[in-house]
Amino acid sequence: MKDSGSPEISRRGILAGGAAAVAATHVPLADAQTATRSGLKPTLAKVEMTVNGKREAMELDTRTTLLDALREHLHLIGTKKGCDHGQCGACTVMVDGKRINSCLSLAVMHQGDKITTIEGLGTPDKLHPMQAAFIKHDGYQCGYCTPGQICSAVAVIEEIRAGVPSHVTGDLNAKTPISNAEMRERMSGNICRCGAYSNILEAMTEVAETRA
């Protein structure tokens, strides 16, 4: 066998050729399966959780993520879908006080959990201090990553206070400082393509200092 890398015999080529061959021979089989597949009804499950202090009972397709349960079923549109697979942080919410990517979690896994979304932090007329600080320091532009940034920012300050270490924590036995480096490291799962990072750090610093 020749070296891989040439288009004719590359591993990719073999796979692609193989896939095409499978597709051609697979058709009757697929048709045969149609009846079975169409008979499949989605599996529904009941789940109850507390969202922003309100008890919510839902019956959901078990494939529904926590993110889609919030957005599509409870119409809490503040939690955003930027990638739907844990790469951008736009869907960050707090579950029992800890932040998670809600797109990476199925709704039915949250029976009895307490969920806090951006709507639970504050409202246009009654802003959470972090929301007010984001406005003051212009820590957002298009606004799409913003709810996730704010939820993360609130949780990050609590994480540091609780002594949860990060990649940049120097001394695990000492009290972790609420430093620029700590906050930037911990916020790095929340992408902002508009590039408001510098301003977000200003906002977080102000909130951390005021509440210290």
Binding site: S38, I135, Y144, G189
Partner: protein, 739 residues
């Protein structure tokens, strides 16, 4: 209002509201999650069906057969639309490839079907049951190979970066041959993705033959036209609504497949349908900034005066596409009697190349401003002094055209002082801080100003509330706020008395958001409408419009004073106008300038480059809101960090697609990559651009940043990287020995 002569004194010059760092008026909605984006319009459509798009798995060729039976029979499926069911579709004016492929496939991940189902989960599951037999064709995916035979091609990016196929002034070859000091170097920039945070998304509803699309789009009027053209329906029957846009950067200038597929799906399903592109499909389905290969030659005399300068660029695109106009700034940025630029366009079967933030200048300056750094070093000159020595106050190709304003020298000098440039060691690889090699870099930023025709309607109600209607968009740029500031200044009211309604095609056609023209053009349109409204108020009150003053919610003339609310009366008052331009932009060269300063640390052991400090000094006309303008600039600087250090769409040249098509593999800057960023705006008003005397700044912030970083990395290590991004694999074997 036709703007034909430079603006004199006008109410904007009062500067009571315009020019102040007002918080964004949309801020309380964006920070509380109550600003609705396209996929979230539960408030307007109660029960839409969910669409999920199926994308082509080949880059070029044909669909032999599509097997839909299994998907159609899947639970919850309402309908499936492919090219066969869609009826005749026409390519939009602003698209290069069809937004629904089949049977012909033009690029990888081109949309080929939409599956519509009751729920998102059902649509997604059914889409995965669609089986396609492809007949793979032979595609062209290798830019270097294709450029060997590519023809010369001129183009206008449509965003202020225009260049003919070949442009000659004087005798470049002769002067270059005779030059005392010369540089001849090649540079490459890779394909870039916009990667905005909100995926392309649309919700479509048909009411009879009328179509409403809630979408995420920068240019509402273009979009309305292209939706109509693509679907073959009258323009009057299409309404686009896009009040919040989760980032665009050029990727949402044009109608994309989400809008068309939502409309087709909704028609077939007989009910509203919403669609969002899945993140991993965005990179190959939508547009990108094309890769470039550039050659720059500069010749100078012994004193460092440029005598010859040439910039050639090659890029690729689908058949019918255009070149990346990477040479255009070189026509204007530096003096020199003998000049040449040229562009070549290769045909590639990769996804569609098109505008991304500062098309032309962004990749062009990434190369040119390294070349200037290299030249300065050859001459033994400071890179700032070398640039200053070659400044020009006139269009170098047409010396009778002056720049309306050109503060490049001041931007560089003020920046040098603020940044501590005098502490830079001109000799590379001399400064250490622990394991870090420290370097400083500078680059000039340059981006043309463009004006676009822009309309608005402004009304006052009986409570004295001023409402602005325009189809302008706010893509994070701050349009809501600067438009409110303009109306508040013109009508003499506080900001909390102004309401701004954006992004609806039923409102007057605006400039839209692109080419950094939005701020100046859209506010000038609001200015024009307010001038008319002021006249209507004066006329209604029987005031002499010559001496009427609008202030503190009142209208005053002589010793008479009437509250604006009272003047409007129960019926209210409304005026509409459009700003249009004469030939001032031809008489004067209107451009924006910046000095970009960067300090990097390069890890001595790994060659990793980290940003330590960044400063931009910008001269861009009147800054309408220093807070949101600064955010535009730091955001652009951040994108510049991405282009310099990490962003690169990796091309699979055998199968013709971008391999790293998600946000984990296409790396963009994150919090940890970006330190505190500083921006200084130089005092400037430009009366030739509009009554606002403003220019754009959102793209200027990106132009030159990449080169400033590459130059800083060189200063830190002595390693000159001419192929972006500047990653550690390109540094490692050349790193200075660790002492």
């Amino acid at each position: 209002m036709k703007f034909t002569t430079p603006a004199g004194q006008n109410p904007i010059d009062q500067g009571k509201v315009v020019g102040k760092p007002h918080d964004r008026i949309d801020g309380k909605f964006k920070t509380t999650g109550t600003a609705p984006y396209a996929y979230e319009r539960h408030d307007v459509v109660a029960n839409p069906a969910y669409g999920y798009i199926v994308h082509a798995a080949i880059a070029k060729g044909r669909i032999g057969a599509m097997h839909l039976a299994e998907a159609k029979a899947a639970p919850g499926v309402i309908t499936i639309v492919t090219a066969a069911e869609a009826g005749k579709l026409t390519k939009g004016d602003f698209n290069t490839a069809m937004l629904l492929g089949g049977p012909e496939i033009q690029h990888y991940h081109q949309a080929i079907a939409i599956v519509v189902a009751e729920t998102f989960e059902q649509a997604r599951a059914a889409a995965n049951l669609v089986r396609v037999d492809y007949e793979r064709g032979k595609g062209r995916f290798d830019l270097d190979e294709a450029l060997k035979t590519a023809p010369l091609k001129g183009a206008d990016s449509g965003e202020g970066s225009k260049a003919p196929p070949v442009d000659r002034v004087g005798d470049f070859e002769g002067a270059f041959a005779k030059a005392a000091v010369k540089l001849d170097a090649r540079y490459t920039t890779p394909d870039h993705s916009h990667a905005m945070m909100e995926p392309h998304a649309s919700l479509a509803r048909w009411d009879g033959d009328k179509l409403t699309v809630w979408t995420s789009n920068q240019m509402i009027a273009w979009g309305k036209g292209d939706v109509a053209k693509t679907l073959g329906i009258p323009k009057e029957n299409v309404r686009l609504i896009s009040p919040y846009v989760g980032g665009g950067f050029g990727g949402k200038l044009f109608v994309r497949t989400d809008a068309i597929m939502a409309a087709l799906g909704a028609r077939a399903a007989g009910r509203p349908v919403k669609v969002a592109l899945a993140r991993p499909m965005m990179f190959n389905n939508t547009t990108h900034r094309p890769a470039t290969t550039q050659r720059i030659r500069i010749g100078t005399d012994r004193s460092g005066k440029i005598t010859a300068i040439a910039h050639e660029s090659g890029s690729g695109d689908l058949p019918g596409g255009g070149p990346e106009t990477a040479v255009s700034q070189t026509k204007l940025l530096y003096a020199g009697a003998n000049r040449m630029t040229s562009m070549r366009l290769a045909v590639l079967d990769l996804p569609e190349g098109n505008a991304m933030r500062a098309p032309g200048e962004a990749p062009g300056l990434m190369a040119l401003e390294i070349a200037m750094d290299e030249m300065a070093e050859k001459l033994g000159m400071d890179p700032i002094a070398f640039r200053i020595a070659n400044d020009t106050q006139v269009d170098p190709e047409k010396p009778e055209r002056r720049f309306s304003q050109r503060q490049l020298i001041k931007a560089l000098q003020d920046g040098a002082k603020a940044f501590g440039w005098d502490k830079r060691n001109a000799k590379p690889a001399q400064v250490r801080d622990g394991k870090w090699l420290i370097g400083m870099g500078v680059a000039a930023g340059f981006r043309n100003n463009m004006n676009m025709k822009s309309g608005a309607k402004v009304s006052i109600d009986r409570k004295g509330i001023v409402t602005v209607y325009t189809d302008m968009t706010d893509i994070g740029t701050g349009s809501y706020t600067i438009i409110a500031q303009t109306a508040a200044e013109m009508m003499g009211v506080d900001m909390d008395r102004v309401v701004v309604r954006l992004g609806d095609s039923d409102s007057p056609v605006s400039s839209g958001s692109g080419g950094q023209w939005g701020a100046n053009s859209s506010t000038a349109g609001v200015y024009a409408a307010c001038v008319k409204l002021r006249e209507a108020v004066a006329q209604k009150l029987g005031f002499n419009s010559g001496d009427v003053e609008f202030a503190d919610g009142k209208v005053r003339s002589g010793n008479r004073s009437v509250a604006l609310a009272e003047a409007a009366g129960d019926a209210g008052l409304t005026a509409e106008d459009t700003i249009d331009y004469g030939d001032l932009a031809k008489t004067y060269q209107q451009s924006t300038f910046a000095g970009h300063f960067v300090e990097v640390g390069v890890d001595m052991y790994t060659g990793e480059v980290r940003i330590r400090r960044m400063l931009a000094v910008c001269a861009a006309g009147r800054i309408l809101n220093p807070k949101s303008a600064r955010s535009q600039v730091i955001g652009a600087m951040t994108m510049g960090v991405g282009s310099a250090l990490m962003e690169e769409l990796a091309v699979d040249k055998r199968f013709g697609f971008f391999v790293n098509h998600d946000l984990a593999q296409y790396e963009v800057p994150v919090h940890a990559d970006i330190p505190y960023q500083e921006v200084i705006f130089l005092e400037e008003t430009d009366p030739t651009t509009s009554p606002m005397k403003a220019k754009g700044v959102g793209e200027l912030g990106l132009c030159g940043v990449g080169a400033a970083i590459a130059n800083a990395a060189y200063n830190a290590t002595g390693i000159r990287i001419r192929d972006y991004p500047v990653t550690l694999d390109k540094m490692l074997d050349k790193m200075p020995p660790v002492a």
